[in-house]
Amino acid sequence: MHEMSYAEAILENLINLAERNNAREIKKAHLVIGELLLINPEQLEFCFRAISRETIAENCTLEIEFVKPEIRCVKCGKEFEAPAGVCECGGFVSVNGGKEMILKSVIMEVD
């Protein structure tokens, strides 16, 4: 389960951001996650809940937006849903993106 590593990175960055902005509470975090990271959102949520307890991110909602990689044949340009190897035309299928994890925006309560 690699979700715990990602949950830790999310929490650490949220808390740093909250401290820099003198926030009291973190309400919502919007995440952009590449599909090829193979993140299970329920597991990520579970891990985040477990480690954020008794922090200012305790009640923070994770809003996850998954983004697709661009997978297409370099020869004929046909698009694929998943890394497909070789296209029917014999061309190699290249994969671009799908591996990002960006903390896009954060909503927090300040005095």
């Binding site: 389960m1 690699h2 590593s5 193979l38 190897g85 994969v95 925006s105 300040v110």
Partner: protein, 220 residues
């Protein structure tokens, strides 16, 4: 009290990338070739390392062995009188650049650093350790659909080892299919058919390692 929304735009994977770059710099400065060996539990990674250490006596080798909690693999490898370090991840089923960062200083005098990742085909994929080469080892006993079911790890490998080929007929695995799937996903990768217990393909692996050590000017 009032709510504010902040455009954070923070790349959460940048910390691992930064540490991996730091590891890579250390390895370069000390002329060390690092190989990240990934693969499922029971695919044969530890035996591959044990045999490699024996076959390359004379070359200074270090081994980092990642495991969730146990020390069994470390003890097996350390018995070959090689510089070895266990790394227990505790909760995670992959090594990351941070875990390696804590250990590599101990290996500054080696030519070849073999890193045995934690046994699984998914989690280690996205954690660059700073290695020079990525190796994925699978065995025919995992089923001949194992490659197509885990495209990412094969897509990003430099060497793909299909182990236990002598057992293929007994487990009704089609090695040609496994090799074809691997080649389709990654035409650039070197694919080695191997059976460590029957000495099939092992020479090709050693030849690969000698090749990369020579290129880096580290071979003794």
């Amino acid at each position: 009290m009032h709510k504010i929304e902040i455009d954070a735009e923070i790349d959460l994977l940048s910390e691992n990338r930064r540490l991996a770059a730091e590891n890579r710099k250390f390895l370069r400065e000390h002329g060390i070739v690092a190989v990240n060996i990934m693969g499922a539990i029971g695919s044969g990674k530890t035996l591959l390392i044990e045999k490699t250490v024996e076959a390359l006596k004379g070359i200074r080798i270090g081994v980092i062995l990642g495991d969730v909690i146990c020390r069994a693999d470390y003890e097996r490898v350390a018995a070959h009188e090689v510089k070895a370090e266990p790394v227990n991840t505790g909760k995670e089923c992959h090594l990351d650049a941070h875990l390696i960062n804590h250990r590599i200083q101990k290996f500054e005098d080696v030519d070849l650093l073999l890193i045995e990742n934690v046994g699984n085909l998914i989690c280690p994929v996205d954690f660059d350790l700073g290695e020079d080469f990525r190796v994925v080892m699978v065995s025919v006993t995992e089923g001949d659909d194992v490659v197509e079911k885990h495209p990412e790890i094969f897509r990003l490998a430099d060497v793909i080892i299909i182990n236990k080929v002598a057992l293929a007929e007994f487990v009704e695995a089609d090695v040609d299919k496994m090799e074809r799937d691997a080649k389709n996903l990654n035409p650039e990768a070197r694919i080695i058919r191997m059976d460590l217990k029957k000495d099939i393909g092992f020479d090709e692996w050693i030849e690969f390692l000698r090749g990369v050590l020579n290129v880096s000017g580290n071979s003794s």
